[in-house]
Protein backbone atom coordinates (compact mmCIF):
# COMPACT_ATOMS: atom_id res chain seq x y z
CA UNK A 1 0.00 0.00 0.00
CA UNK A 2 1.16 3.46 -0.81
CA UNK A 3 1.02 6.02 1.95
CA UNK A 4 -1.87 8.36 1.25
CA UNK A 5 -0.81 12.00 1.07
CA UNK A 6 -2.89 14.59 2.85
CA UNK A 7 -5.59 15.74 0.44
CA UNK A 8 -6.40 18.97 2.20
CA UNK A 9 -5.05 21.42 4.72
CA UNK A 10 -7.52 19.97 7.20
CA UNK A 11 -5.88 16.56 6.95
CA UNK A 12 -2.42 18.05 7.01
CA UNK A 13 -3.32 19.62 10.35
CA UNK A 14 -3.00 16.26 12.11
CA UNK A 15 0.57 15.29 12.85
CA UNK A 16 1.60 11.85 14.13
CA UNK A 17 3.09 11.72 17.62
CA UNK A 18 5.79 9.41 16.38
CA UNK A 19 6.54 7.38 13.29
CA UNK A 20 6.63 3.60 13.19
CA UNK A 21 10.32 2.78 13.65
CA UNK A 22 11.74 2.51 10.15
CA UNK A 23 14.19 -0.11 11.28
CA UNK A 24 12.27 -3.07 12.66
CA UNK A 25 14.41 -5.27 14.89
CA UNK A 26 14.55 -9.03 14.26
CA UNK A 27 11.48 -10.98 15.32
CA UNK A 28 11.05 -11.35 19.03
CA UNK A 29 12.62 -7.94 19.66
CA UNK A 30 10.33 -6.23 17.16
CA UNK A 31 7.43 -6.93 19.52
CA UNK A 32 8.89 -4.50 22.03
CA UNK A 33 9.04 -1.72 19.44
CA UNK A 34 5.29 -1.26 19.54
CA UNK A 35 3.12 -0.04 22.41
CA UNK A 36 0.89 -3.12 22.20
CA UNK A 37 4.03 -5.27 22.41
CA UNK A 38 5.31 -3.27 25.36
CA UNK A 39 2.05 -3.82 27.15
CA UNK A 40 2.38 -7.54 26.46
CA UNK A 41 5.88 -7.51 27.94
CA UNK A 42 4.51 -5.61 30.91
CA UNK A 43 1.91 -8.28 31.46
CA UNK A 44 4.45 -11.12 31.15
CA UNK A 45 6.88 -9.42 33.51
CA UNK A 46 3.96 -8.63 35.80
CA UNK A 47 3.08 -12.33 35.94
CA UNK A 48 6.69 -13.23 36.76
CA UNK A 49 6.56 -10.61 39.52
CA UNK A 50 3.29 -12.02 40.80
CA UNK A 51 4.77 -15.52 40.91
CA UNK A 52 7.75 -14.20 42.84
CA UNK A 53 5.81 -12.18 45.40
CA UNK A 54 3.54 -15.18 45.99
CA UNK A 55 6.48 -17.47 46.78
CA UNK A 56 8.19 -14.78 48.84
CA UNK A 57 5.03 -14.18 50.84
CA UNK A 58 4.57 -17.89 51.56
CA UNK A 59 8.22 -18.03 52.66
CA UNK A 60 7.71 -15.09 55.01
CA UNK A 61 4.84 -16.86 56.74
CA UNK A 62 7.38 -19.36 58.07
CA UNK A 63 8.18 -16.76 60.71
CA UNK A 64 5.11 -18.00 62.58
CA UNK A 65 6.78 -21.40 62.96
CA UNK A 66 9.70 -19.92 64.86
CA UNK A 67 13.32 -18.86 64.38
CA UNK A 68 14.70 -22.30 63.51
CA UNK A 69 12.15 -22.98 60.79
CA UNK A 70 12.56 -19.57 59.17
CA UNK A 71 16.35 -19.54 59.28
CA UNK A 72 16.54 -23.11 58.01
CA UNK A 73 14.29 -22.08 55.11
CA UNK A 74 16.49 -19.06 54.34
CA UNK A 75 19.57 -21.25 54.47
CA UNK A 76 17.83 -23.83 52.32
CA UNK A 77 17.35 -21.23 49.57
CA UNK A 78 21.14 -20.97 49.35
CA UNK A 79 21.92 -24.66 49.56
CA UNK A 80 19.25 -26.06 47.22
CA UNK A 81 20.74 -28.64 44.90
CA UNK A 82 23.85 -29.23 47.03
CA UNK A 83 26.22 -30.94 46.60
CA UNK A 84 25.70 -30.89 42.83
CA UNK A 85 24.86 -27.26 42.30
CA UNK A 86 27.10 -24.47 43.57
CA UNK A 87 26.14 -22.58 46.73
CA UNK A 88 23.40 -20.04 46.13
CA UNK A 89 22.62 -21.08 42.57
CA UNK A 90 18.84 -20.86 43.02
CA UNK A 91 19.07 -17.50 44.74
CA UNK A 92 21.30 -16.06 42.05
CA UNK A 93 19.29 -17.68 39.29
CA UNK A 94 16.13 -16.02 40.56
CA UNK A 95 17.91 -12.69 40.91
CA UNK A 96 19.19 -12.99 37.37
CA UNK A 97 15.63 -13.42 36.12
CA UNK A 98 14.01 -10.82 38.39
CA UNK A 99 16.34 -7.94 37.68
CA UNK A 100 15.77 -7.79 33.88
CA UNK A 101 12.09 -8.50 34.52
CA UNK A 102 11.78 -5.47 36.76
CA UNK A 103 13.81 -3.30 34.40
CA UNK A 104 11.59 -4.24 31.44
CA UNK A 105 8.40 -3.69 33.43
CA UNK A 106 9.49 -0.27 34.59
CA UNK A 107 10.87 0.77 31.21
CA UNK A 108 7.65 -0.20 29.42
CA UNK A 109 5.61 1.61 32.09
CA UNK A 110 7.69 4.74 31.73
CA UNK A 111 7.51 4.66 27.93
CA UNK A 112 3.72 4.23 27.89
CA UNK A 113 3.25 6.93 30.48
CA UNK A 114 5.28 9.35 28.38
CA UNK A 115 3.47 8.41 25.15
CA UNK A 116 0.06 8.72 26.79
CA UNK A 117 0.82 12.17 28.11
CA UNK A 118 1.81 13.29 24.65
CA UNK A 119 -1.42 11.86 23.26
CA UNK A 120 -3.43 14.48 25.16
CA UNK A 121 -1.28 17.61 25.48
CA UNK A 122 -4.28 19.80 26.33
CA UNK A 123 -6.29 18.33 29.19
CA UNK A 124 -10.05 18.57 29.47
CA UNK A 125 -10.93 22.00 30.80
CA UNK A 126 -14.06 20.80 32.54
CA UNK A 127 -14.30 18.09 35.15
CA UNK A 128 -14.19 14.51 33.84
CA UNK A 129 -16.77 12.07 35.10
CA UNK A 130 -15.26 8.59 34.83
CA UNK A 131 -17.51 5.57 34.56
CA UNK A 132 -15.13 2.61 34.46
CA UNK A 133 -11.61 3.96 34.97
CA UNK A 134 -11.28 3.35 38.68
CA UNK A 135 -8.92 4.60 41.30
CA UNK A 136 -6.62 1.62 40.89
CA UNK A 137 -6.29 1.89 37.13
CA UNK A 138 -5.61 5.61 37.25
CA UNK A 139 -2.94 5.37 39.95
CA UNK A 140 -0.82 2.61 38.36
CA UNK A 141 1.94 5.12 37.65
CA UNK A 142 1.91 6.11 41.33
CA UNK A 143 1.57 2.75 43.01
CA UNK A 144 4.30 1.29 40.77
CA UNK A 145 7.02 3.81 41.73
CA UNK A 146 5.97 3.59 45.40
CA UNK A 147 6.60 -0.15 45.24
CA UNK A 148 9.93 0.52 43.52
CA UNK A 149 11.06 2.96 46.23
CA UNK A 150 9.99 0.57 48.91
CA UNK A 151 11.88 -2.22 47.18
CA UNK A 152 15.11 -0.23 47.38
CA UNK A 153 14.66 0.33 51.10
CA UNK A 154 13.60 -3.27 51.61
CA UNK A 155 16.81 -4.59 50.03
CA UNK A 156 18.97 -2.17 52.06
CA UNK A 157 17.15 -3.23 55.19
CA UNK A 158 16.90 -7.00 54.98
CA UNK A 159 19.23 -8.14 52.19
CA UNK A 160 22.33 -5.97 52.56
CA UNK A 161 21.58 -4.85 56.07
CA UNK A 162 22.79 -1.28 55.65
CA UNK A 163 19.47 0.16 56.78
CA UNK A 164 19.01 -2.39 59.55
CA UNK A 165 19.80 -1.38 63.16
CA UNK A 166 21.36 -4.75 64.05
CA UNK A 167 22.03 -6.88 60.98
CA UNK A 168 23.31 -10.43 61.44
CA UNK A 169 24.15 -12.31 58.29
CA UNK A 170 22.08 -15.48 57.99
CA UNK A 171 19.83 -14.75 60.99
CA UNK A 172 16.73 -13.70 59.10
CA UNK A 173 14.44 -14.03 62.10
CA UNK A 174 16.55 -11.69 64.18
CA UNK A 175 16.90 -9.16 61.36
CA UNK A 176 13.16 -8.94 60.85
CA UNK A 177 12.53 -8.44 64.54
CA UNK A 178 15.24 -5.78 64.71
CA UNK A 179 13.78 -3.92 61.74
CA UNK A 180 10.10 -4.10 62.65
CA UNK A 181 10.67 -2.91 66.18
CA UNK A 182 10.77 0.56 64.60
CA UNK A 183 7.20 1.72 64.08
CA UNK A 184 7.94 4.11 61.16
CA UNK A 185 9.33 1.13 59.26
CA UNK A 186 6.17 -0.83 59.95
CA UNK A 187 4.02 2.07 58.76
CA UNK A 188 6.05 2.39 55.55
CA UNK A 189 5.91 -1.35 55.04
CA UNK A 190 2.14 -1.45 55.39
CA UNK A 191 1.69 1.59 53.14
CA UNK A 192 3.91 0.14 50.43
CA UNK A 193 2.05 -3.13 50.57
CA UNK A 194 -1.28 -1.37 50.23
CA UNK A 195 0.14 0.36 47.16
CA UNK A 196 1.22 -3.02 45.82
CA UNK A 197 -2.27 -4.34 46.53
CA UNK A 198 -3.90 -1.53 44.58
CA UNK A 199 -1.40 -2.06 41.76
CA UNK A 200 -2.26 -5.74 41.62
CA UNK A 201 -6.00 -5.15 41.91
CA UNK A 202 -5.78 -3.52 38.50
CA UNK A 203 -2.76 -5.41 37.16
CA UNK A 204 -3.94 -8.94 37.86
CA UNK A 205 -7.20 -8.10 36.09
CA UNK A 206 -5.66 -6.15 33.27
CA UNK A 207 -2.95 -8.61 32.26
CA UNK A 208 -5.43 -11.01 30.62
CA UNK A 209 -6.45 -8.21 28.32
CA UNK A 210 -2.85 -7.24 27.47
CA UNK A 211 -1.83 -10.82 26.81
CA UNK A 212 -4.86 -11.24 24.57
CA UNK A 213 -5.97 -14.37 26.40
CA UNK A 214 -9.17 -12.74 27.58
CA UNK A 215 -12.59 -13.71 26.35
CA UNK A 216 -16.13 -12.85 27.38
CA UNK A 217 -16.55 -16.01 29.44
CA UNK A 218 -13.80 -15.22 31.97
CA UNK A 219 -14.55 -11.53 32.46
CA UNK A 220 -16.20 -11.94 35.87
CA UNK A 221 -13.69 -14.53 37.03
CA UNK A 222 -10.85 -12.11 36.27
CA UNK A 223 -12.20 -9.49 38.63
CA UNK A 224 -12.65 -12.06 41.39
CA UNK A 225 -9.15 -13.44 40.81
CA UNK A 226 -7.52 -10.01 40.93
CA UNK A 227 -9.37 -9.02 44.10
CA UNK A 228 -8.56 -12.25 45.92
CA UNK A 229 -4.95 -12.16 44.76
CA UNK A 230 -4.44 -8.56 45.92
CA UNK A 231 -6.08 -9.22 49.29
CA UNK A 232 -4.10 -12.42 49.89
CA UNK A 233 -0.79 -10.76 49.04
CA UNK A 234 -1.38 -7.68 51.17
CA UNK A 235 -2.78 -9.72 54.07
CA UNK A 236 0.09 -12.18 54.00
CA UNK A 237 2.78 -9.52 53.92
CA UNK A 238 1.49 -6.99 56.41
CA UNK A 239 0.61 -9.58 59.04
CA UNK A 240 4.29 -10.15 59.90
CA UNK A 241 5.47 -6.63 60.83
CA UNK A 242 2.24 -5.97 62.70
CA UNK A 243 2.61 -9.22 64.62
CA UNK A 244 6.16 -8.20 65.53
CA UNK A 245 5.23 -4.66 66.51
CA UNK A 246 2.43 -5.71 68.82
CA UNK A 247 4.59 -8.46 70.26
CA UNK A 248 2.84 -11.59 68.97
CA UNK A 249 6.25 -12.67 67.66
CA UNK A 250 9.10 -12.17 70.11
Amino acid sequence: MVEARPRSTVEAGVQPLRRRPEKQLPYPLSIYQSAVGKKWVMAVTGVVGMAFITMHMLGNLKIYLGAEELNAYADGLRTVGAPFAPHGFLLWGVRLVLLPTLLLHVHAAWWLWRQNRRARPVKYQSKRDYIAADWASRTMTWTGPIVLLFLAFHLLDLTWGTANPDFRHGDVYHNMLASFDRWPVVVAYVAANLALGVHLYHGAWSLFQSLGVNNARINTARRVFATLFAVAIVGGYVSTPIAILIGVIE
Binding site: E11, L17, V36, K39, A119
Partner: protein
Amino acid sequence: MDFTLKVWRQAGPKARGSFETYKASGVSADMSFLEVLDVVNEDLIEKGTEPIAFEHDCREGICGSCGVMINGQAHGPNERTATCQLHMRTFKDGDTITVEPWRAAAFPILRDLVVNRSALDRIIEAGGFISVNTGSAVEANMIPIPKVVSDAAMDAAECIGCGACVAACPNGAAQLFTSAKIQHLNLLPQGQSERWQRTEAMVDKMEEYFGGCTNHGECQFACPKGISIDFIAYMNRDYLKSKVTNRKLGGQGFAT
Protein backbone atom coordinates in the same frame (compact mmCIF):
# COMPACT_ATOMS: atom_id res chain seq x y z
CA MET B 1 -37.35 23.14 30.74
CA ASP B 2 -34.62 25.72 31.23
CA PHE B 3 -30.91 25.04 31.07
CA THR B 4 -27.66 26.90 31.43
CA LEU B 5 -25.09 25.73 28.89
CA LYS B 6 -21.38 26.23 29.33
CA VAL B 7 -20.00 25.73 25.85
CA TRP B 8 -16.38 25.71 24.68
CA ARG B 9 -15.85 28.47 22.11
CA GLN B 10 -12.68 28.58 20.05
CA ALA B 11 -12.38 30.61 16.87
CA GLY B 12 -9.86 28.35 15.13
CA PRO B 13 -7.22 25.64 15.56
CA LYS B 14 -4.59 28.03 16.92
CA ALA B 15 -6.94 30.36 18.78
CA ARG B 16 -7.33 30.39 22.54
CA GLY B 17 -10.64 29.00 23.62
CA SER B 18 -12.82 29.45 26.69
CA PHE B 19 -16.18 28.48 28.08
CA GLU B 20 -19.10 30.77 27.32
CA THR B 21 -22.38 30.62 29.19
CA TYR B 22 -25.72 30.54 27.36
CA LYS B 23 -29.30 30.24 28.51
CA ALA B 24 -31.66 27.82 26.80
CA SER B 25 -35.22 28.41 27.94
CA GLY B 26 -38.50 26.78 27.01
CA VAL B 27 -36.79 23.57 25.96
CA SER B 28 -39.01 20.54 25.49
CA ALA B 29 -38.03 17.35 27.32
CA ASP B 30 -38.34 15.48 24.03
CA MET B 31 -35.72 17.60 22.30
CA SER B 32 -32.38 16.09 21.52
CA PHE B 33 -29.21 17.69 22.75
CA LEU B 34 -28.36 18.92 19.26
CA GLU B 35 -31.76 20.57 18.97
CA VAL B 36 -31.00 22.54 22.12
CA LEU B 37 -27.78 23.72 20.50
CA ASP B 38 -29.91 24.69 17.48
CA VAL B 39 -32.17 26.74 19.75
CA VAL B 40 -29.19 28.52 21.29
CA ASN B 41 -27.75 29.15 17.84
CA GLU B 42 -31.03 30.68 16.59
CA ASP B 43 -30.71 33.12 19.44
CA LEU B 44 -27.08 33.89 18.68
CA ILE B 45 -27.82 34.44 15.00
CA GLU B 46 -30.64 36.83 15.83
CA LYS B 47 -28.30 38.74 18.11
CA GLY B 48 -25.81 38.85 15.26
CA THR B 49 -23.10 36.77 16.96
CA GLU B 50 -21.32 33.68 15.66
CA PRO B 51 -23.36 30.53 16.26
CA ILE B 52 -21.74 27.57 18.03
CA ALA B 53 -20.03 25.31 15.50
CA PHE B 54 -20.80 21.67 16.09
CA GLU B 55 -20.67 18.68 13.77
CA HIS B 56 -23.78 16.68 12.94
CA ASP B 57 -25.30 14.86 10.05
CA CYS B 58 -27.70 11.95 10.45
CA ARG B 59 -29.09 12.89 13.87
CA GLU B 60 -30.01 9.27 14.42
CA GLY B 61 -26.83 7.78 15.80
CA ILE B 62 -25.31 6.27 12.69
CA CYS B 63 -22.93 8.78 11.13
CA GLY B 64 -20.69 9.33 14.14
CA SER B 65 -20.11 13.03 13.63
CA CYS B 66 -21.87 14.58 16.61
CA GLY B 67 -19.65 13.55 19.52
CA VAL B 68 -18.92 16.07 22.28
CA MET B 69 -18.10 15.81 25.97
CA ILE B 70 -21.21 16.54 28.01
CA ASN B 71 -20.61 17.00 31.74
CA GLY B 72 -17.29 15.20 31.46
CA GLN B 73 -18.67 12.16 29.65
CA ALA B 74 -18.37 11.38 25.96
CA HIS B 75 -21.83 11.67 24.34
CA GLY B 76 -23.24 12.51 27.77
CA PRO B 77 -24.43 10.29 30.60
CA ASN B 78 -26.48 7.65 28.81
CA GLU B 79 -25.07 4.34 27.70
CA ARG B 80 -25.23 3.40 24.03
CA THR B 81 -26.39 6.87 23.05
CA ALA B 82 -24.85 9.35 20.67
CA THR B 83 -25.17 13.06 21.42
CA CYS B 84 -27.89 13.39 18.79
CA GLN B 85 -29.93 10.67 20.52
CA LEU B 86 -29.57 12.18 23.96
CA HIS B 87 -32.92 13.57 25.06
CA MET B 88 -33.24 16.49 27.42
CA ARG B 89 -35.42 14.45 29.77
CA THR B 90 -32.11 12.90 30.87
CA PHE B 91 -31.36 16.16 32.67
CA LYS B 92 -33.12 17.96 35.48
CA ASP B 93 -34.86 21.26 34.89
CA GLY B 94 -32.48 24.13 35.66
CA ASP B 95 -29.30 22.03 35.23
CA THR B 96 -26.05 23.59 34.14
CA ILE B 97 -24.56 21.49 31.35
CA THR B 98 -20.93 21.73 30.30
CA VAL B 99 -20.08 21.00 26.67
CA GLU B 100 -16.50 20.53 25.53
CA PRO B 101 -14.94 19.17 22.33
CA TRP B 102 -12.98 15.88 22.21
CA ARG B 103 -9.44 16.45 23.37
CA ALA B 104 -6.52 14.48 21.96
CA ALA B 105 -3.33 15.31 20.11
CA ALA B 106 -4.74 13.41 17.12
CA PHE B 107 -8.02 15.40 17.22
CA PRO B 108 -7.06 19.05 16.85
CA ILE B 109 -9.94 21.45 17.38
CA LEU B 110 -11.08 23.09 14.17
CA ARG B 111 -13.64 25.40 15.71
CA ASP B 112 -15.75 25.41 18.89
CA LEU B 113 -16.93 21.80 19.29
CA VAL B 114 -15.68 20.51 15.95
CA VAL B 115 -12.51 18.44 15.90
CA ASN B 116 -10.54 16.94 13.05
CA ARG B 117 -10.92 13.18 13.28
CA SER B 118 -9.04 12.31 10.09
CA ALA B 119 -6.39 10.38 12.05
CA LEU B 120 -9.01 7.65 12.28
CA ASP B 121 -9.11 7.56 8.48
CA ARG B 122 -5.34 7.03 8.42
CA ILE B 123 -5.90 3.83 10.42
CA ILE B 124 -8.58 2.59 8.02
CA GLU B 125 -6.36 3.37 5.04
CA ALA B 126 -3.64 1.21 6.54
CA GLY B 127 -5.70 -1.96 6.22
CA GLY B 128 -9.38 -1.59 7.08
CA PHE B 129 -10.51 -3.10 3.81
CA ILE B 130 -10.63 -6.34 1.84
CA SER B 131 -8.85 -6.19 -1.49
CA VAL B 132 -10.28 -9.03 -3.52
CA ASN B 133 -11.84 -8.78 -6.94
CA THR B 134 -15.40 -9.61 -6.18
CA GLY B 135 -16.70 -10.00 -9.71
CA SER B 136 -20.43 -10.36 -9.79
CA ALA B 137 -22.03 -10.75 -6.41
CA VAL B 138 -21.88 -14.28 -5.05
CA GLU B 139 -25.01 -15.86 -3.67
CA ALA B 140 -25.02 -14.84 -0.02
CA ASN B 141 -25.25 -18.35 1.39
CA MET B 142 -22.26 -19.63 -0.58
CA ILE B 143 -19.95 -18.83 2.33
CA PRO B 144 -21.19 -20.58 5.46
CA ILE B 145 -20.51 -18.50 8.56
CA PRO B 146 -21.54 -19.70 12.02
CA LYS B 147 -24.17 -17.49 13.64
CA VAL B 148 -22.00 -16.66 16.66
CA VAL B 149 -19.17 -15.57 14.40
CA SER B 150 -21.31 -13.34 12.23
CA ASP B 151 -22.94 -11.88 15.34
CA ALA B 152 -19.54 -11.04 16.81
CA ALA B 153 -18.39 -9.51 13.52
CA MET B 154 -21.56 -7.41 13.37
CA ASP B 155 -21.05 -6.26 16.95
CA ALA B 156 -17.64 -4.93 15.92
CA ALA B 157 -19.01 -3.51 12.68
CA GLU B 158 -21.40 -1.32 14.65
CA CYS B 159 -18.56 1.16 15.18
CA ILE B 160 -19.53 4.53 13.71
CA GLY B 161 -16.07 6.07 14.08
CA CYS B 162 -17.20 8.92 16.29
CA GLY B 163 -14.00 9.01 18.35
CA ALA B 164 -15.73 8.76 21.74
CA CYS B 165 -13.35 5.95 22.77
CA VAL B 166 -10.35 8.21 22.22
CA ALA B 167 -12.08 11.13 23.91
CA ALA B 168 -13.09 9.12 26.97
CA CYS B 169 -9.79 7.27 27.36
CA PRO B 170 -7.55 8.83 30.01
CA ASN B 171 -4.64 7.96 27.67
CA GLY B 172 -6.20 9.19 24.43
CA ALA B 173 -5.88 5.70 22.98
CA ALA B 174 -7.80 4.54 19.90
CA GLN B 175 -7.73 0.86 20.75
CA LEU B 176 -11.48 0.33 20.77
CA PHE B 177 -11.96 1.92 17.36
CA THR B 178 -9.01 0.09 15.82
CA SER B 179 -9.89 -3.28 17.32
CA ALA B 180 -13.48 -2.99 16.08
CA LYS B 181 -12.32 -2.03 12.60
CA ILE B 182 -9.82 -4.90 12.53
CA GLN B 183 -12.02 -7.57 14.05
CA HIS B 184 -15.15 -7.06 11.98
CA LEU B 185 -12.98 -8.16 9.05
CA ASN B 186 -10.68 -10.63 10.85
CA LEU B 187 -13.62 -12.61 12.16
CA LEU B 188 -15.10 -13.34 8.75
CA PRO B 189 -13.86 -15.73 6.04
CA GLN B 190 -13.51 -12.87 3.56
CA GLY B 191 -11.05 -11.14 5.85
CA GLN B 192 -8.67 -14.04 6.29
CA SER B 193 -6.29 -13.58 3.38
CA GLU B 194 -5.11 -10.19 4.61
CA ARG B 195 -5.69 -10.83 8.30
CA TRP B 196 -2.12 -10.60 9.59
CA GLN B 197 -0.95 -7.74 7.40
CA ARG B 198 -4.10 -5.82 8.24
CA THR B 199 -3.64 -6.27 11.97
CA GLU B 200 -0.02 -5.21 12.02
CA ALA B 201 -0.48 -2.28 9.64
CA MET B 202 -3.52 -0.86 11.42
CA VAL B 203 -2.08 -1.21 14.92
CA ASP B 204 1.20 0.37 13.86
CA LYS B 205 -0.65 3.25 12.21
CA MET B 206 -2.81 3.72 15.30
CA GLU B 207 0.29 3.96 17.47
CA GLU B 208 1.65 6.76 15.32
CA TYR B 209 -1.21 9.06 16.29
CA PHE B 210 -2.70 7.88 19.57
CA GLY B 211 -1.80 6.92 23.12
CA GLY B 212 -1.63 3.34 24.33
CA CYS B 213 -4.19 1.21 26.10
CA THR B 214 -3.75 0.54 29.81
CA ASN B 215 -7.09 -1.18 30.22
CA HIS B 216 -9.03 1.51 32.04
CA GLY B 217 -12.10 0.13 30.29
CA GLU B 218 -13.59 3.63 30.01
CA CYS B 219 -14.08 3.41 26.23
CA GLN B 220 -16.65 0.64 26.19
CA PHE B 221 -19.01 2.68 28.35
CA ALA B 222 -18.47 5.83 26.31
CA CYS B 223 -19.10 3.99 23.05
CA PRO B 224 -22.53 4.89 21.66
CA LYS B 225 -22.65 1.39 20.18
CA GLY B 226 -21.53 -0.41 23.32
CA ILE B 227 -18.59 -2.14 21.63
CA SER B 228 -16.81 -4.39 24.11
CA ILE B 229 -13.16 -4.18 25.12
CA ASP B 230 -13.06 -7.92 24.48
CA PHE B 231 -12.27 -6.88 20.91
CA ILE B 232 -9.13 -5.16 22.20
CA ALA B 233 -7.95 -8.41 23.74
CA TYR B 234 -8.66 -10.12 20.45
CA MET B 235 -6.69 -7.46 18.56
CA ASN B 236 -3.75 -7.82 20.96
CA ARG B 237 -3.73 -11.55 20.32
CA ASP B 238 -3.85 -11.09 16.55
CA TYR B 239 -1.12 -8.46 16.70
CA LEU B 240 1.26 -10.77 18.53
CA LYS B 241 0.49 -13.55 16.05
CA SER B 242 0.96 -11.19 13.12
CA LYS B 243 4.52 -10.52 14.22
CA VAL B 244 5.31 -14.21 13.66
CA THR B 245 3.13 -14.78 10.63
CA ASN B 246 4.13 -11.68 8.67
CA ARG B 247 7.77 -12.64 9.14
CA LYS B 248 7.06 -15.85 7.27
CA LEU B 249 5.46 -13.97 4.40
CA GLY B 250 8.97 -12.83 3.47
CA GLY B 251 8.09 -9.34 2.31
CA GLN B 252 5.08 -10.39 0.26
CA GLY B 253 2.63 -8.44 2.38
CA PHE B 254 1.48 -4.86 1.93
CA ALA B 255 4.25 -2.45 1.11
CA THR B 256 4.29 -0.24 4.19
